[in-house]
């Protein structure tokens, strides 16, 4: 039997993390959480999570940054907003999950070879490069980066898509890609300024 320490010392906390998250637009209401568990009760994916959504909320509020950013929970959120709609304290749990995903990506602490953040990154990159998403390419790229073998298992699906005329290898793109690039650059500039 392998044993692991589960106690948390004060040194395990990152003081200010909770406050910091709660200062982000959309995440303010977290301070009202009464830990009732409605979010976990309605979450269709809570059954696969390492921490239930309720536990994530408390971990954030108690400054357990590392535990939260490394958890699978934030990546399992499918953004169905059921928790946000049902929460008796009107906490926008889905938006908090987004915020945590962003932080995990920024700090590169998400589980490696985990397809979900990879998909998000590839998606974003494609929007940057072309302005639009071509689903076939996107999925192909994701499999190549995470689990190339699994791509083979998708061949049947590809065939079916082709049969129904829904398979396309053409990369769709917008005309004014430079315009979008400029907007993105400006956002970075604004955010950099705000942080400075």
């Amino acid at each position: 039997m392998e044993i692991k320490r589960t106690i948390k010392y004060e040194a395990d906390r990152v003081p200010g993390f909770g406050r910091d998250v709660m200062s982000v637009p959309g995440c303010e209401a977290l301070e009202h959480c009464i830990q009732c568990g409605t979010c976990s009760g309605v979450c269709p994916l809570s059954i696969y999570m390492d921490y239930t959504p309720r536990q994530v909320m408390e971990l954030v509020r108690s400054d357990f940054k590392n535990e939260v950013l490394q958890s699978h929970t934030i990546w399992l959120c499918a953004s169905c907003y059921a928790c946000t709609t049902e929460c008796p304290r009107q906490i926008r749990i889905t938006d908090i999950m987004y915020e945590l995903k962003q932080r995990a990506i920024k700090e590169e602490v998400y589980p490696k070879r985990f397809p979900i953040p990879v998909l998000a990154e590839e998606f974003t990159k494609m929007v940057h490069d072309y302005g639009r998403i071509s689903e076939t390419w996107l999925v192909t790229k994701m499999y190549l980066r995470t689990n190339p073998m699994a791509a083979l298992g998708m061949a049947g699906l590809g065939m079916n898509l082709m049969k129904t005329g829904r398979f396309s290898l053409k990369q769709d793109k917008i005309e004014h890609r430079e315009e979008l690039a400029k907007i993105m650059e400006a956002v970075d500039h604004e955010n950099g300024k705000a942080k400075a």
């Binding site: 568990g37 409605t38 009760g41 809570s46 049902e86 008796p88």
Partner: protein, 682 residues
């Protein structure tokens, strides 16, 4: 002006209120500043002005330093103005040579910068010093109190208040909207935590009310109009037609059995729609008064004979077997009409109760969608021996293996339905944890089912309540800490097929669970009555933001309202259980008794009067007065005010074009000097 005749000698006191004021306002600085103002003879700061030594200090100073005005800067005048006026009077001064400055609620508690808060205190103090110079000696007037009392609402609160007053020899009018008194308590089977039978303890009180010589009981009646003020209220009551003469009906119920409807056919409100009644009915066996009534919406006599405008008329298209059965008593009277009755009372106790949260507003729990989802009040009737099933717990949907109506093998009770939720009601309804456990116990007793209680936090703060929780734990009831996400009927496993599934996070175990049950009970919370807004206006009360009637002070005046002579008891003021309700009803009765036995009430002398020489006789003030206290002397062409009717709002003063109306305690000079005073800072 009197102030000119004698030298002004103002005493000023700034209170630390422990740290409450002193932590944010530099009291010594304020005292030193006020000392420099004209007319101030003495300026002190003191730890607790409202304490006996503090009041003693004022009295001593008045005597020793010949003070003729006093200003105290401390908490809100709504809290202690009365106290300090008393001290001033005890010191030998007219109590109205006093003014109070609020530097706690309006200053130290709401600001964060000590410098700014101190500056504000100085400005407010200066305003009071300037104002008090203009104060005049006034006399307190006494108003007589009519000894009769109106109690509105015949639930346990109204019953207890009425009985207390009646036993003290006072005459009481008890007005109840429903055809019988008893309220919600009459629907309950047992009461927590003692599990004594609700009917057994309530019924004797109900019949006592019905027969008490000092109580006039008007059921099926509503208050429609309230005029007057403390001591002298005129109340109009609408008595709805029950088409049965209450005095002649003996409650034999022969009419019911002889009704042309052989079987009960119409949804029975008292049984939460779970049972049926006939058009002529008695709400429940122990109803008080013991008199039947007719529902004109469904009674054939009215239904078949209607005026073109839809109003009922007496016709001959029903056989009227009820009248026949009533025989010589002649209690049934199809010609009865709604009537208006007027009574005079001196005080009013409002006990209009609550309504339960509409479970349909929480669609995730499937009420109305899944038949075997019940509200707690429905279950109260279901387990009740006099309920629609005779106390047998049988489900609305499904059959047992032998074809008999289905009895549940497992039951989930969901706490906090509609409560503690920003989207519905944010408050905790206080009784649901306890009644849920009571129902868990009763349902288990009746069915032997596996019981699950889903709670957010278990709240058992009452005598014997925690012990009751412990008893339930011993009985083997499952307590799962988690607010239920949803109740559905789709199955993931064979055992879930055909049952209701509760999906919840067991937050203490940290796992999400699916629990199949046969019956779901929703512990719906308590809400203000649907017409609480109108009732509030009727009696000139206030409501909190949540809709419950507002008491005058949450701690020190819990049964008084902002209107003198109107008191509150029971759940109309906020959710509470039966012991608290009865205690509050007793308190409200005691408050009314204080008024009655004292015989008079002292009235704040803030009334208005007209300076006859200044009045131009324009009459513009006359329509402004809501109490018709302003009259016109046609001979002298001047308006004059009947000070007995004046309530002291000052509306006429604010609009007199010739500035000829003066309001005591709020005259122009006093206010102008206060304005100047608050602005003289920096």
């Amino acid at each position: 002006m009197s102030a000119k005749k004698e030298e002004l000698r103002i005493g000023f006191y700034v209170c630390h209120c422990g740290h409450n004021i002193a932590a944010m306002v530099d009291c010594a600085v304020v005292a030193r500043y006020v000392e420099t103002l004209p007319g101030v003879a003495l300026s002190r700061d003191y730890k607790y002005m409202c304490s006996d030594p503090g009041q003693e200090l004022i009295q001593q100073d008045i005597r020793e330093h010949r003070l003729n005005r006093v200003v105290v800067a401390s908490c809100s005048p709504l809290l202690h103005e009365h106290t300090f006026r008393g001290a001033v009077e005890a010191g030998g001064l007219n109590p109205f040579y006093f003014h109070m400055v609020n530097i706690r609620e309006h200053d130290s508690w709401v600001h964060t910068d000590r410098g700014e808060a101190t500056e504000k205190a100085k400005a407010l103090a200066r305003a009071a010093i300037q104002r008090v110079a203009h104060h005049k000696a006034l006399e307190i007037k006494k108003v007589e109190i009519h000894p009769d009392v109106l109690v509105v609402g015949g639930g346990i609160a109204g019953i207890h208040a009425a009985m207390t007053l009646a036993n003290a020899g006072k005459k009481v009018y008890l007005v109840e909207r429903e055809p019988s008194i008893g309220g919600h308590m009459a629907k309950f089977d047992k009461t927590f935590p003692t599990l004594d039978c609700a009917a057994c303890i309530l019924t004797p009180k109900m019949s006592e009310v019905g027969s008490h010589p000092n109580i006039t009981l008007w059921t099926y009646s509503e208050v429609t109009k309230v005029d007057g003020f403390v001591g002298n209220y005129t109340v109009q009551v609408k008595r709805k037609a029950r088409y049965v003469n209450e005095d002649l009906c003996t409650g034999c119920q022969d009419c019911i059995s002889h009704c042309v409807f052989k079987e009960p056919k119409f949804a029975d409100d008292f049984n939460e729609g779970l049972g049926k009644r006939k058009p002529i009915f008695i709400p429940f066996p122990q109803a008080t008064p013991q008199a039947v009534l007719i529902d004109p919406e469904v009674c054939l006599n009215f239904k078949r004979n209607k005026n073109p405008d839809g109003s009922p008329v007496v016709g001959d298209k029903c056989k009227k077997t009820c009248v026949e059965a009533c025989g010589e008593k002649h209690a049934i009277d199809f010609t009865q009409k709604d009537t208006l009755q007027e009574v005079k009372v001196g005080s009013i106790i409002v006990c209009t109760g609550f309504k339960t949260y509409d479970a349909g507003r929480s669609p995730a729990y499937g009420y109305g969608n899944y038949k075997n989802v019940y509200t707690a009040l429905e279950v109260e009737r279901l387990v009740n021996a006099s309920g629609p099933t005779g106390g047998e717990v049988i489900l609305r949907e499904g059959k047992n293996a032998d074809g008999s109506p289905k009895t549940p093998k497992s039951i989930g009770i969901i706490h906090c339905v509609g409560s503690r939720d920003k989207k519905t009601n944010l408050w905790c309804s206080r009784v649901c944890c306890m009644y849920s456990m009571k129902l868990a116990h009763l349902l288990r007793e009746h069915t032997g089912a596996e019981m699950y209680n889903f709670y957010i936090d278990m709240r058992t703060p009452g005598k014997g309540y925690e012990e009751f929780y412990n008893k339930l734990l011993e009985e083997g009831t499952h307590f799962i800490r988690g607010r239920v996400g949803e109740v559905t009927d789709w199955a993931m496993t064979p055992e879930e097929e055909g049952r209701l599934v509760i999906r919840v996070e067991d937050t203490l175990a940290g796992v999400v669970r699916r629990i199949p049950v046969d019956m779901v009970v929703l512990a719906t919370g308590l809400e203000p009555q649907a017409d609480a807004g109108e009732v509030r206006r009727l009696f000139n009360m206030s409501c909190g933001g949540d809709g419950w009637f507002l008491e005058r002070h949450p701690k020190l005046a819990p049964v008084s309202t902002f209107t003198d002579g109107v008191f509150l008891a029971g759940c109309c003021q906020g959710p509470k259980d039966i012991p608290d309700t009865v205690a509050q009803a007793g308190a409200a009765a005691a408050e009314a008794l204080v008024l009655i036995d004292k015989g008079y009430i002292e009235q704040e002398p803030n009334t208005a009067h007209i300076l006859e020489d200044e009045c131009s006789g324009c009459k513009s003030c006359i329509p402004l007065c809501p109490y018709t206290a302003i009259l016109f002397d046609e001979g002298r062409k001047k308006a004059y005010i009947n000070e007995a009717l004046c309530k002291g709002c000052g509306t006429c003063v604010g609009s007199c074009p010739s500035a000829s109306i003066v309001q005591n305690l709020f005259d122009d000079q006093e206010i102008f000097s206060e304005i100047e005073g608050v602005l003289a800072y920096d």
